[in-house]
């Protein structure tokens, strides 16, 4: 995974609550078996509307999304993160993220920066008044800056560390294989196994 210390890019305001994963990527796009190539699927239904923010300059080339609270609710589809990343987003800012989305984002190198709602509104105002303004998401100092605004964001320590180091989760866990084996020796015998199959 690529290391991220800080990212700067055009901010895209999406002032709407409860942007669920069916909006981020409709189910019909989940049929692919690859991990990339989802850029066309991002907000597919909304992008049919020419007034949608991503259909407008300069937001078309944005890389920092600033959304309303409860971003990424609903389905566990990691495709939502892949679609955001494939489109070019490096960070999403919201005052509240759905848990599964936040977890998926951290694993794929998309920064989910939690910013207090009044500060999110400041960012929206700034982007509205000065379209095309860049937002910097600074993981090292946990700061989001945009024009004259500089506000803190929350991200859990572990995810921040992994993002900044660009670490692969599975590789990290496999270093603990002896702990896994030790645990397996203590598992209760009555726990079910799927094999051999009984029906």
């Amino acid at each position: 995974m690529e290391k991220i210390i800080a990212h700067s890019g055009i901010g895209v305001p999406l002032p709407q609550n409860n942007i669920d994963t069916d909006q981020i990527i409709p189910a019909v796009y989940l049929k692919r078996v690859t991990r990339t190539g989802f850029e066309d699927a991002l907000f597919a239904a909304w992008r049919r509307d020419e007034n949608f923010v991503l259909n407008q300059e300069p937001y078309r080339n944005g890389s920092v999304l600033v959304a309303g609270p409860d971003f990424g609710t609903g389905s566990s589809r990691e495709h939502a993160v892949w679609a955001l990343k494939d489109y070019g987003f490096k960070a999403v800012i919201s005052s509240r993220f759905a848990d599964i989305f936040r977890g998926n984002a951290g694993k794929q190198g998309l920064v989910a920066a939690q910013v207090a709602q009044p500060d999110v509104e400041l960012l929206w105002k700034e982007l509205e008044n000065h379209p095309g303004t860049e937002i910097t998401v600074d993981l090292e100092n946990r700061l989001v800056s945009c024009g004259a605004i500089s506000v803190p964001f929350e991200i859990d320590d572990y995810t921040r560390w992994r993002l900044m180091e660009g670490l692969d989760d599975i590789g990290l866990t496999l270093q603990q294989e002896s702990d896994i084996e030790a645990y397996e020796r203590t598992r209760q015998g009555f726990k079910p196994k799927t094999l051999p199959a009984r029906t």
Binding site: Q16, N17, N18, D20, D22, Q23, P26, A27, V28, L30, K31, R32, V33, T34, R35, A45, G68, P69, D70, T73, G74, S75, S76, R77, E78, H79, V81, R96, A98, D99, I100, G103, N104, K107, Q108, D156, D157, Y158, W161, D169, I170, T173, Q176, E177, D179, I180, A182, E184, T186, Q188, G189, F190, K191, P192, K193, T194, L195, A197, R198, T199
Partner: protein
């Protein structure tokens, strides 16, 4: 296995019993705990990229004997003996079959009598048991919490992590008690409980929490009904939902294909008995619901928190205090093509969908069949009945439920996720309005432009008869109905 001295909640006990390695809390940095996973469920949509990841890194699937796969999201519910028409759906199914063969994973394919929705298949095989950790690349994995398991939906990166390590790194959660005391009125179901809970705490209200449903109204529910409640925990934003195991749970599990037997059964029950939340344990948050007051519940908007009693009216934006909620309401009314103030019961629907991992089990089908038996479907409505698994379908047919549905004028389909999500041929047309026993009323969820009202199986059945959103209590007695016809 663990120190039971300190009072703990059910969720904390299950968590503690699965810690492979406790995350260190040094220097202000909190590492997550590494937890062992007892059961990993797979389906065709969220697994291909995980299998591909294993192959690319030359890793093995660590425990095929704790893994099981089924085909559900993409599968058609008609003509299942023919090749899947949509080429991308077919590719996804074929990819799952190839991957399962390569990595030695047990797979129940379309046409197999154990095939079905992944969250119906696990419990019915007896693979879901109390005190287990269960994961699946599907948010409705919370369903399995009905057995007192800690069951979570995960993303594809985590699916790959579990495949490779049989563990997950997880941050500790907070606990919330949902106390439901009292007795449900006739016609009120566990679906109405959970819709009322979500309307009360909101779609984000459960974020960071594991919910535990407790109280006399929960204890009185069957396993099928408990699964409906836990299934929709995710719609309140919760990590998981759980119900402490009791005799109802044991009775359900006993004798199922993968249930323990003999001395192992006794050992299992002894352990399961220890899982209840201790009397002295405290929750980080508590919510109280009075079961006696609940009425059939239905959604009017485009998220599961936008619901009202069926006897209520479509709200107006100004009914909400929060500006964000006002905007959401306005947007939802526009999408749903509803006028504020309209009585819910006057809303006509085009389609009734009885199915999904929320409400497609025997009890759901029986409850709906009992309502429609001897009555006639409204001509303006199409009704689709989709059993949750091939086994549920067989059992229902053995009881003659298929005939009741067919005589009523409903379509009796093969098992799968069907119209719950727009991934297979069963979809709403743009503008079509549906009373659906599924779990999500998001924009476009059941098909582009489709409009969804979430309801219980009883409301679904009554709605199919009257043609507008209705509860069984709105139906005339059968004799009268026959005379009128």
């Amino acid at each position: 296995m663990i120190d039971r001295q300190k009072p703990q909640t059910l969720a904390e006990k299950v968590w503690a019993d699965h810690i492979v390695r406790r995350g260190e809390r040094t220097g202000g940095t909190q590492e997550p705990d590494l937890l062992y996973i007892d059961l990993h469920l797979l389906h065709e949509v969220t697994s291909p990229q995980a299998f591909e990841g294993l192959r690319l890194a030359d890793r093995k699937l660590r425990r095929p004997d704790l893994t099981i796969a089924t085909e559900d999201h993409n599968t058609p519910t008609l003509e299942i003996d023919k090749p899947i028409a949509d080429p991308t759906s077919r590719t996804q199914i074929e990819t799952l079959r190839r991957n399962c063969a390569e990595f030695g994973v047990r797979l129940h394919s379309l046409g197999d009598k154990e095939q079905g929705i992944v969250h119906v298949v696990g419990p019915q095989l007896g693979l879901t048991q109390p005190g287990m950790t269960v994961v699946c690349g599907d948010s409705h994995t919370s369903t399995h919490g009905a057995f007192g398991a800690l069951a979570m939906g995960i993303g594809t990166s985590e699916v790959e992590h579990v495949m490779a390590t049989q563990t997950l790194s997880l941050k500790p959660f907070k606990t919330m008690a949902i106390n439901v005391e009292g007795t449900l009125k006739p016609g009120v179901t566990s679906k109405d409980i959970i819709l009322a809970v979500i309307a009360k705490i909101g779609t984000g209200g459960g974020q960071g929490y594991v919910l535990e449903y407790r109280g006399s109204a929960i204890r009185a529910l069957s396993m099928d009904a408990r699964m409906t409640i836990c299934n929709m925990s995710i719609e309140a934003g919760a990590r998981a939902g759980m119900i402490a195991p009791d005799q109802t749970t044991y009775d359900y599990i006993e004798g199922r294909p993968h249930a323990p037997t003999g001395a192992e059964w006794d050992a299992a029950v002894e352990y399961w008995e220890s899982l209840k939340t201790d009397d002295e344990a405290s929750f980080d948050a508590e919510v109280h619901i009075d079961a006696d007051e609940l009425e059939p519940f239905v959604t009017w908007g485009t998220n599961p928190g936008q619901g009202v009693s069926l006897s209520g009216r479509v709200p107006a934006p100004e009914d909400f205090e929060d500006e964000g909620d006002q905007q959401s309401c306005e947007r939802a009314l526009k999408y749903m093509n509803l006028v504020a103030g309209t009585p819910m019961k006057e809303i006509p629907v085009d389609t009734v969908f009885l199915g999904s991992c929320t409400n497609s089990r025997m009890e759901d089908l029986r409850a709906a069949a009992e309502i429609i038996h001897g009555r006639k479907k409204a001509d303006s409505v199409r009704m689709i009945v989709v059993p949750g698994s091939a086994r549920v379908r067989l059992e229902a047919e053995a009881e003659g439920l298929d005939r009741v549905f067919k005589e009523f004028g409903a379509e009796w389909r093969f098992a799968g996720c069907s119209m719950c999500l727009g991934m297979n041929p069963d979809q709403l047309a743009p503008g079509e309005r549906c009373a659906s026993t599924s779990n999500r009323n998001f924009e476009g969820r059941q098909g582009k432009g489709g409009r969804t009202h979430l309801v219980s199986p009883l409301v679904a059945a009554a709605t199919a008869i009257r043609g507008t959103l209705s509860s069984p209590s709105d139906l005339p007695p059968i004799a009268t109905a026959a005379q009128a016809a």
